[in-house]
Each structure stands twice: as C-alpha cells, then as structure tokens.
C-alpha cells in the first residue's frame, strides 16, 4: 500500500464522495458549536424546514460572549444575553446537548471537548471557530469553519472541503528551563510568519513535541492557525491514551482496550511524503514575546525588535504595527512597563497553565500597577484550581480567579483592555483591537505573564525561576 501521512489516513477514511475536479465531501465525527457563529446556521435550517441530521454528534457550549463574574445572575448586556438565550433555545428545539452558564461541563469549547473525552484520536472535528485546531493534539483532523459550513454539518453531518497540502514541522532536542509549549509555537510562527503555512495542514513531530504533556500539545496545535495553517495534529501515543483513560465517557469505557489498538495505528508511515518539511532545534528556543500586531512578529523576551522587515510592503506593515504598539525598531522590551496581564483562553487556560502561573507568583505579590484577569478555561479547570489550592495561592499574591469563558481573548464581554494599555496575554492573537479598541497585546506564555504580573514590566521569567 502507498505510504500515507497521518493526516491522509484520517482525511481519506472520512471522504463520503470526491466531487470530480472539485472538493471532497467530508464526514464529520464531532461538531462543537457556540453562541456567536451558530445562530445564523440554525436560522438557515429553519428557513429550509430542516431538522438536525445527527444531533448526538453536536455539542454546544456558551463561551465567547459571557461575563466572567456573577455567572449565576442574568447576563447584563442585552445583546449577549439574547445571543446566549438563542443558543439555548436552538439546542432545545433541535435536541442538542448544551452546556450553558453554571453547567458543570461549561467552558471554552476547545477546553471542554478534550477534557470531557469528546475528542478522540482519528476523528474529524469541526467548529465555527478557527482554534478548533487545538483538538489536533489527540491525533484528529480538526479545523475551524464558517457559519455556512456549520449549517452544512447540522443539515448533513458533512462539509464540502478541498483537501489541504501537508507540512511536517519537526522539533527535536530538549527545552531550556523556563521555556514552554507556548514558546515553541510562538517561535515557530515567528520563523514561518503569520501566513507561512496557509494552505497546509501541519503535523508536529520530534522529541521536543513528544516530551510535551497533552495540555502542552494542545497549546501548540491551537496556534497552528496563526501561521495560516488549516490545522495541526500530533500522532497519539501512550501519553494520549493515558490522558483519555481518565476522561473517556462511561459508555466507551468498556471498549477502551480495543479503541487503543485502533488508535495505535494512527501514525505517519515511514516513507510518506509531505509537501513541505521544516525542522527546528528546541535548544534554540527562549521564552518568547510578540511585539507587533500579528502573531508572526515575535522574538525572545530578552531580544531587541528588528530594525526592519522584508520588502517595501512588509516593512510598511511592520512600521505601522510598531506604531500601533508604541514601539520603535531596534527597541529592547525587557523592563517595558505593562498595565494588564491576561491568563486564559483556549491556548493557555488549562490547569497546567494556572499551575505554572501560580508556581511563579507563589510567595510574591501582584505589582500594584497591574490589573490581572486570570480566567480558567472551563468549570472543570476552575474546580481543579480551587481544589489544588491554586485559587488560594493566587489570592494570597493579590490575584482573583474569575469564572470560565473566552473573556479578554476576544473581548466580546466587558473584559476589555483599555486603549493604549499594554497587556501581556497568554491568548493567541495580538491583532489591533483584539482585546478592546486600541489595546496593545503582547503574547507570551503563562510564565512570562506571571513574571510581568509580579514585576509590573516585561521580565524574563528565567530570572525569577532561579531564586
């Protein structure tokens, strides 16, 4: 048999039909929806007089447009309340499982999917959210779709998609102290640029990737989209199976061993060919930070902003971006004052991220100039943070643990960063205005965020880890 990549194996086995000269009709095993990108899709179904084809394969959660305080009270903002109410009604009308506010399974869609065992190796997974790539950490083909496509999945459990090209990114070697999975992916994106992987589906491999926990792998796959990739995935291994053994839904538990047997086959064949291969050395990676307004404009935290970028147009965009950020070419960022710190999102809102943050702030105090938003990715993470004593540690250091949601990652709720203020954020996008009109976002790991939170300025976390 012709050697295949892991991506090919999963994709090809889900093709219901290849349209001649055109895209594939792809069967979807798992569909996640949330309040922002689904209402128009349900609207479309109603207009066509359709039912949801396979309601049990869709899971809904409210996450993007919800407050992170007082979740037990009605949402204050009328539009947000209406949007969440619409999702709830749609789920009721169309018989879809819904995790609303205060539901023990509520949380950010890409955090709850994996932690509740809805994300399983070999699946095709879609959601009307570009960071669906997160689920690729379990060896799935998972990617973001638009609302028309959400409607397609609801109507037929399929979407019509052209097959992307394949890229492999190999990271070998071991990470230095203070360097995390977030730094790996920020480093890769800074090397490949914000559009560098457009048209590709990425497989991450190598010893540095294998050494990551499932949480760390999710952080890497999550940000695949920030270099334009359709998605990213990592072959499942013993770590994956061990994680799943703890979260597998009860009805699947008896099948666990036979499932694992099937999952073990999910890897790229030795001779398989990728359209593009990139290789990096983990030892070269330092704690990273972005200085511009796309995730590709990143550097080591102790580095200086480049003097210029590429060709004429690229340089113009680069200068425009620095102007927005209030930075200059050649400037060093260490020591630059910070106003806000945001820890959370589907990139770094998992328990491991809160642990890392708490570890560094333990025994220290929040800098008085800092406003901090510490937002767990889900109810489960919140509960865990409380029971592990993380919430306590945070409190002692002057931080408050909020309730779960997307929060300041896209600032649809009131968790906005004011214009002109600097925020070190563990989220995934530093676009102009992403965290509020005029907000200036610096993307970094939870450790680098913690270092900024206790010093009030951009700080190399390695300086605080040693003592």
């Amino acid at each position: 048999m012709e050697p295949k990549t892991l991506f090919d194996k999963i994709w090809d086995s889900h093709v219901v039909q290849s349209i001649k000269g055109g895209p594939d009709v792809l069967y979807i095993d798992r569909h996640f929806i949330h309040e922002v990108t689904s209402p128009q899709a349900f609207d479309g179904l109603r207009k066509r007089g359709l039912q949801v084809f396979r309601p049990a394969k869709t899971i809904a959660t409210a996450d993007h447009n919800i407050p992170t305080r007082d979740q037990d009270k009605p949402i204050k903002d009328e539009l947000s309340r209406n949007q969440v109410g619409t999702l709830e009604k749609n789920c009721r009308d169309f018989n879809i499982e819904y995790f609303g506010l205060n539901h023990p399974k509520n949380g950010i869609v890409h955090v709850v999917g994996p932690e509740l065992g809805y994300t399983l190796p070999g699946m095709t997974i879609v959601c009307g959210d570009s960071h669906t790539s997160t689920h690729g950490a379990f060896g799935t083909v998972a990617f973001g779709i638009g609302t028309s496509e959400v409607e397609m999945v609801l109507a037929s459990q399929c979407i019509i998609q052209p097959k992307p090209k394949k890229m492999r990114i190999t990271v070998n070697g071991s990470l230095q102290k203070g360097v995390t999975s977030k730094d790996i992916i920020l480093y890769i994106i800074s090397r490949l640029s914000a559009g560098g992987a457009t048209g590709y589906f990425v497989e991450y491999s190598g010893t540095a990737i294998e050494s990551l926990s499932m949480e760390g792998r999710m952080t890497v796959c999550n940000m695949s989209i920030e270099m334009g990739a359709r998605g990213g995935l990592i072959a499942p291994d013993m770590k994956t199976f061990e994680y799943l053994s703890k979260v597998l839904p009860a009805d699947l538990k008896p099948d666990f061993n036979s499932l694992v047997k099937g999952w073990m086959k999910l890897k790229t064949d030795k001779e398989a060919v990728f359209d593009l291969e990139k290789e990096f050395d983990a030892g070269d990676i330092k704690p990273m930070i972005t200085y511009g307004t796309n995730p590709g404009l990143g550097m080591a935290v102790d580095d200086t902003i480049p003097e210029k970028a590429g060709n004429k147009e690229e340089n113009a965009a680069f200068l425009r971006s620095l102007d927005y950020m209030g930075f200059k070419p050649g400037e060093k960022l260490l020591g630059h004052p910070v106003d806000y710190v945001f820890v959370g999102s589907c990139t770094n809102g998992r328990i491991e991220d809160l642990r890392a943050f708490a570890e560094l702030v333990r025994g220290r105090k929040k800098d008085p100039g800092i406003t901090a938003l510490i937002v767990p990715g889900s109810k489960k993470v919140e509960q865990q943070a409380i029971s592990e004593g993380i919430a306590d540690t945070l409190k002692k250091a002057g931080f408050e643990l909020r309730q779960p949601g997307c929060s300041s990652c896209l600032a649809m709720n009131e968790d906005k960063i004011p214009a002109g203020k600097y925020a070190v954020s563990t989220s995934n996008r530093n676009f102009e205005g992403r965290q509020g009109p005029g907000a200036r976002t610096l993307l970094a790991s939870p450790l680098t965020a913690a270092a900024a939170a206790v010093t009030g300025k951009i700080t190399d976390p390695r300086d605080l880890l040693n003592n």
Binding site: Y27, L410, M412
Partner: protein, 200 residues
C-alpha cells in the same frame, strides 16, 4: 438556497494596500452579538473608519469620496485570523462583491465562496500594478469575468487568468449552495455511516 448569481463584474475599486488584514479588523468582535446575517456592513472596518468618538476618520480609504466600487483590492494574506463569516457578510452588506489580493487565508476564502462573494487571487506583480493604476486614477475600472476566469483592466488591456475550483465556480455562476448539494446525496452519507459502523 439560491444566492445572487455571479457572472461578469465591471466596476471601479477601493484599494487597501495593507498586508495581513485580519477578520478582527474587517469586523471587530464586539459587533458579533447579532443573530442574523444582515446589517454588518455598518461596522465594516469599524475601528479604521471611525475614531473613538464615532467620528469618521477622513484618512481611511473607505471614507475617501474619490474611491468607490464593488471590488476591494487588498494586500497579501487578506482575511487571516478568526473564522467569523461575519467578515464576509460585512463586506457583502457594505456593497462589495469581490476582493482581489495576492493571497487569502483559507477559511476566509471558503466563507467567501459560500456566500457568492468572489476572492480573486492574482500575482504580486499584477496586484502591485493594480494599486498603482488605481492610485493614479481612482476611476480605473476592473473587470472580473468568472466564466472565463479572467481579471482585466479594460483601460490598459492588462489581464490575467485566475484559479477557482470548478465545483465552486459552478455554484457561484448558478447561485447554488453546498447545502442543496449535500441534501441531494444524503443516501450516500447514510451508506457511509453504515459502512463505518460495520467496520468497527
């Protein structure tokens, strides 16, 4: 459901010579709370079109009366970032029917095609010329012939072929959409499901 058919479009253009224009700029998240598809044009490029107090920002191209038309000409990697289809709805609702760039983000391209909105990918060189022509003469017309898959500048005779998936092209030209198609092959989908349960 039937959409407006796309055939030949000849119009003046609005140039936006910026790279990596992301969907957060096209339509900021705080305007995504609506539950219908209409009305997003009002907030298209909101934070570039208007200043903080809601006044029009005269230096932004959409507010320059010299430029108008149904085609947006934009820099490389247009539509990157969030998967929000609201970005395409905002562009269409504002009155655009096509966008020309040297590179598009994948999800944005799919979303466009699903809404009868045409992304036309041209070479860097063609794009550069186009920006120059339009800045010299805002009255420059551009013609997009979907049937022939040709984009041209009738005034100068410059033209180039562009790619589009044949299936998507047919959908656009006939004003059809994917759901009609998927519904027509439900038998096949059910058969696929059956095969897979048996295999397991």
């Amino acid at each position: 459901m039937a959409k407006e058919k796309f055939d030949i479009l000849e119009t003046t253009c609005v140039p936006l010579p910026l790279e990596n224009v992301d969907t957060d700029q096209i339509i900021p998240a705080r305007f995504l709370s609506a539950t219908t598809r209409e009305g997003f044009g009002e907030n298209l490029f909101r934070d570039w079109r208007f200043d903080k107090s809601g006044e029009k920002n005269d230096s932004f191209i959409l507010n320059d009366p010299a430029y108008s038309g149904k085609i947006l000409v934009a820099g490389k990697n247009f539509g990157c970032g969030s998967s929000r289809e609201h970005a395409v709805w905002a562009l269409s609702d504002y009155g655009f029917r096509a966008v020309v760039s040297s590179f598009f983000a994948d999800i944005f391209r799919n979303n466009s095609l699903n809404n009868g909105f045409l992304p036309v990918m041209v070479t860097e060189e063609f794009l550069g010329n186009l920006f120059e022509l339009i800045s010299k003469d805002p009255g420059t017309k551009v013609r997009i012939d979907l049937g022939q898959q040709v984009i041209s500048v009738p005034g100068t005779g410059e033209s180039m072929k562009f790619d589009i998936n044949p299936y998507k092209k047919e959908c656009l030209m006939k004003g059809l959409d994917d759901i009609d198609y998927l519904l027509s092959i439900r038998n096949m989908i059910t058969a696929y499901e059956l095969r897979n349960t048996l295999r397991k």
